[in-house]
């Protein structure tokens, strides 16, 4: 079971939900921080690093002696990472998405691929939680390949919680594609509802079972709950607007450790998500 924790709006409490859900487990669980531009789940854990590996993209390198400047590579590249007009190509590796198309279309075999480092995937262990996080190098703009590298490090036979980046763009799609279920975290405000509805549209297109976690219930209004009722979206968890939760989080501690009365709620969240992913099958006719 792989559960994603996502949201349209940033700052709604994805990481709070993800790390507390992981801690509430009584046995081994994996937590993946796919917000590789600013991973922060590690701030709430006291883990030791047990692994780190660099992630690279294959980018073109041109052998000038073989190139006859035909320009086939440049015509193929939609990202303008390789440019040619009657001269050996100019390369812009920072724009290359690593598709390898230029290598294939070159009729003279003049293009080879070299690795361009984009970031690291790190593994930490804190008790029963194994954290895998991506960390994008400063100055790199291409997020999805590193997200996919994080996901490739995850086991298939263990419970996995995936903390997604905010929003509805490519990094989020790369994160949630293929997950078994999603918890969309929102806050009960007009802004929260607006961005939740964007996230709902995205998730429905990807056909992933999902429910909603409403964080800080009590700060706004009841429009998020009304929206979920009308749309037939299950509310997996309501987290009240409890000042003590904010204090615990701001100290980098975990809610389920410091305020144990919240522990059962996170256990219910996991059970509810599992029910979404594998609905009880209808009885087959005898």
């Amino acid at each position: 079971m792989m559960l994603g924790v996502a949201s349209g709006k940033g700052g709604t409490g994805k990481t709070t939900v993800a790390v507390n859900l992981a801690r509430a487990f009584g046995s081994g669980v994996w937590l993946a921080d796919c917000d590789v531009e600013e991973p922060n789940a590690h701030l709430f854990l006291r883990g030791t690093t047990i692994g780190s590996r660099t992630v690279s993209l294959p980018v073109p390198q041109v052998e000038a002696g073989l190139c006859d400047a035909c320009g086939a590579c440049a015509r193929l590249c939609q990202y303008h990472a390789i440019v040619s007009f009657g001269t050996p190509p100019l390369l812009f590796p920072e724009l290359c998405h690593g598709c390898g198309g230029c290598v294939r279309v070159c009729p003279r075999g003049a293009i080879a691929e070299v690795d361009r480092r984009i970031g690291v995937v790190e593994t930490q262990r804190d008790g029963h939680i194994t954290l895998v996080q991506g960390r994008l190098d400063v100055g790199v703009a291409l997020v999805p390949p590193l997200v996919r590298a994080v996901k490739a490090s995850l086991p298939r036979d263990m419970p996995v919680i995936v903390d997604a980046p905010p929003g509805t763009s490519c990094p989020v799609i790369a994160t949630i594609r293929g997950l078994d279920a999603l918890a969309l975290v929102t806050e009960p405000t007009p802004f929260g509802l607006h961005d939740l509805s964007l996230a709902v549209d995205m998730v429905r297109q990807l056909n992933i079972p999902f429910g909603v976690v409403v964080n800080r219930v009590g700060v706004g209004d009841d429009r998020v709950h009304g929206f979920c009722r009308r749309e037939g979206i299950p509310i997996l968890l309501d987290i009240p607007d409890d000042r003590r939760i904010a204090e615990v989080c701001s100290r980098g501690r975990l809610v389920v450790d410091e305020l144990p009365e919240y522990r059962p709620a996170f256990a219910r969240l996991w059970a509810g998500a599992c029910a979404l992913a594998a609905p009880v099958p209808a009885l087959a006719p005898l």
């Binding site: 440049a74 990202y79 990472a81 440019v83 007009f85 100019l90 812009f92």
Partner: protein, 120 residues
Amino acid sequence: MIIALTASGDGLDARMDSRFGRARRFLLYNLDDGTVRTVDNDEGQRAAQGAGIQAAETIARLGVGGLVTGHCGPNAFRVLRAAGIPVFSTTAATVSEAIDAYRAGTLTRIDAPDVDGHWT
């Protein structure tokens, strides 16, 4: 010879667009017969990244003998230099003022990018 200018409108009275990669459009001005042709830069305006490179490719394929714009970033400049297209910087308000300055030889030819990438 034909020169390219970055403009925000059509015709010689159009205002110059000081951006290159994300310029609204390119005006191609024929110095020999005074005719004007407009080339849209939709792809450059829409591009998430690489607008300057893309615009420079467009300009290079049009076979112009020079580019007159406001500013030029590092990637675009690299492509324009490889294509052998001289780049002139101007603060002229309109296309016709920029052409007059080009003819008078008072424009500054830039030999290095004068802004960082992602300049707006």
